[in-house]
Symmetry: C2
Subunit: 426 residues, 2 copies
């Protein structure tokens, strides 16, 4: 892991894969076919890409499959999932914004009405590893927002089933409207609807390049969460921090994929060297060491800075998805941190604590977008409507100014909509 | 204006102009040149598109120009602008979400930190008509969010100046960092920065197709507000409503542009006919009657429904940008309205009241996106960061479940980041 002295600019931004022309075109074709042929297209693509030959009636997961899944997941896992659900619900319930109104003596009522989205579709990636935490983080905020219809889609395994832990996790959340469709065809189905899969208003959840391109293509027709970029962690630490903890946390990020970025920022040369050694040492024993070492090689950095304040400057420049602060009383620094998706304070707030369990959402702005974006939250599943109620009294007092502004903009019909209400009274 | 009986589906969606290949390419070229040549490119495009031959030093509006502008705007206008500012500030101040935290007995602290964006750029369209209300609606929420750096750009008139009312409005808000650049080159400058124009984190404000395409192109590098589609109004009214008011309000929407949509939904045949006549009658006397009649012809509709409940069903299907409810006690219906950007209740809550003066933002989700989007608000200029602080005690209690979940997902390094902290203690 390279140790570099900090000079003015740091940049760990990585190019987000926007797909090849071929990939883009095939995604557009898939979307078009699903729009035109509905279930038929889904069945064809599922046969082609997942090697499973379904009838339309088999697209939806059956109660039997869900019951069956519980036999394949051990009780420790189910207990951990249930405890995580409690924590994640508890945190997200605090995010709910209420509708509000304000009244004036002239009778005016102004307000902001909060309304949950009607329907949401969550995409769950298939493949070897299943990610129950992703299901919890996508669906719990929508449930707390009050979204009535929440459906899930995920590509079937070669045996025509979904991973047991995926079904168990969904069922623990009360989600039973689950479809065995993946890829761009699943996103198209959620955006436009088919005979079997209902159209939704918003699509969330991670996926491969085809899923990402499809989400980008249907954005506007429906809402989407975000196009997640590669994941990153920055750890800000001083000389008293534990190098073994830091190395382990850096590697937990690096094992995600080769584009992941793990960065240590510290004023301590001594700590820098110790972490460098620990990373080598721990890396050698990791099952996913190929991926992790590739990531450390390409995007792993140790920045040595003059002091903690300069370190914070570096952090704010990077605007990391995850920030760990392992310094003497880290809370003291919270006010100075402007740009980070999630902030982990102290040596026991390891990133995995937040990835799985603590409660805050793990779907976070990546690749520097924490400068202007936020973690996925309950708000992302509600929308606001302004409410305006004017009385005759309020109207009469203000009419003159309103028509003045309308005419200032050359919009005479706007002005006349005001004037006509004054005439009517005289 | 066509009267149609409602059957199952209504659709007033219009195609959003995504530009010709030529327009898309020229925008990408402009962005590239501004990135590479900075101010030089701005000056060239300003000469080419606006016919003004600036020095770099002239791009920024001078104090003198602002002082001058006050001589060209009458006092009624300035008074109206100042009163609008008071109302708009008052409403938006109520939108501010506070940072919060929660503590547990085991020492855990979880929180959500609200941070304003560092910098925002507002685009103000040029051309014949100036829109002071657009400046107020874009900038006031950013100021209340606490954004420190707010800059404005707008294309110069042929005399090398900006419209006086634009400068006065900006100055009334305390905005003096104003640049005379328009089109895609202005958006590129805000996204990447030049010698004269600083890079910002978010770009808001309406513009022509080139501005819209440029915003779409730089989205991701910076945040943007939205790509506004054509504007629409739906009025839900019963037999007691005043047809003259309704017609005037429909026309105030129709005069915006040929793509604007004005729709009346009513159970009353009698009202439908009366409004139809009134629209013809008032339309003939409008200065912008060509635009308005084109809009009414293409997208103006009167839907006759069985009753008010069916009317609300139609409204929720359309998810209009603006909704006026002119029925007997309209507040009674508020709970049933799920999808609308702004809801105007009662016969004195004419749309222009909200466009200019009442306080809520007039930048609203158009073309059906109110199903999942919200009015521009203070929140759009702040972002959240999750905060997680775990004590040793909290960690020790939960460590087992966290590593269980990590291993369930096949992420061993995540699990080891937990385990290593347990070893350290034993």
């Amino acid at each position: 892991m390279k140790i570099v002295n900090f000079h003015e600019n740091v940049n760990v931004k990585r190019d987000v894969d926007s797909g090849t022309k071929e990939q883009q075109n095939s995604v557009l074709t898939i979307i078009k076919n699903v729009q035109e042929q509905g279930d038929q297209a889904l069945l064809q693509y599922t046969k082609k890409h997942d090697g499973v030959d379904f009838q339309a009636s088999e697209l939806r997961v059956s109660e039997e499959e869900i019951k069956q899944a519980y036999h394949e997941v051990n009780s420790e896992a189910i207990e951990a999932i249930r405890l995580a659900i409690v924590n994640i619900r508890d945190y997200h319930e605090r995010q709910v914004n209420q509708s509000w109104m304000t009244t004036k003596e002239d009778g005016t009522i102004l307000g902001q009405k909060m309304t949950p989205l009607d329907s949401v579709g969550t995409y769950v990636p298939g493949g070897k590893a299943a990610y129950p935490s992703s299901i919890l983080m996508n669906i719990i905020p929508a449930q707390i927002a009050g979204v009535k219809k929440i459906i899930m889609t995920s590509p079937p395994l070669s045996n025509g089933k979904l991973a047991a832990v995926v079904l168990v996790t969904a069922n623990e959340l009360g989600i039973t409207d689950i479809y065995k469709v993946g890829g761009a065809q699943a996103i198209a189905a959620l955006a436009y609807g088919t005979e079997t899969i209902p159209k939704v208003d918003k699509i969330t959840g991670p996926g491969n390049i085809y899923v990402a391109l499809a989400k980008r293509a249907v954005f506007g027709t429906v809402d989407i969460d975000m196009i997640a970029g590669p994941s990153e962690i920055v750890i800000l630490a001083d000389e008293q921090a534990n190098p073994r903890f830091i190395a382990a946390d850096l590697l937990s990020q690096a094992e995600h994929d080769e584009l992941a970025s793990a960065v240590l920022v510290t004023p301590s040369e001594k700590l820098a060297k110790a972490v460098q050694e620990e990373v080598e040492e721990q890396l050698s024993r990791l099952p996913r060491k190929e991926i992790a070492s590739q990531s450390i090689e390409s995007y792993g950095r140790i920045y040595v800075v003059a002091d903690i304040l300069e370190g914070i400057h570096v952090v704010n420049q990077i605007a990391p998805e995850h920030l760990e602060v392992m310094t003497k009383d880290p809370l003291r620094l919270l006010g100075k941190i402007r740009h980070a998706g999630a902030i982990f304070l102290g040596e026991y707030s390891s990133e995995p604590v937040g990835d799985y369990f603590a409660g805050p959402n793990h779907i976070l702005p990546t690749n520097g977008t924490a400068r202007f974006s936020s973690p996925l939250s309950v708000e992302d599943f509600m929308k606001k409507s302004s409410v305006i109620f004017y009385t005759k009294e309020a109207f009469d007092h203000q009419a003159k100014h309103i028509s003045t502004l309308a005419r200032l903009e050359g919009l005479e019909a706007h002005a006349r909509a005001i004037d006509i209400r004054l005439e009517e009274q005289s």
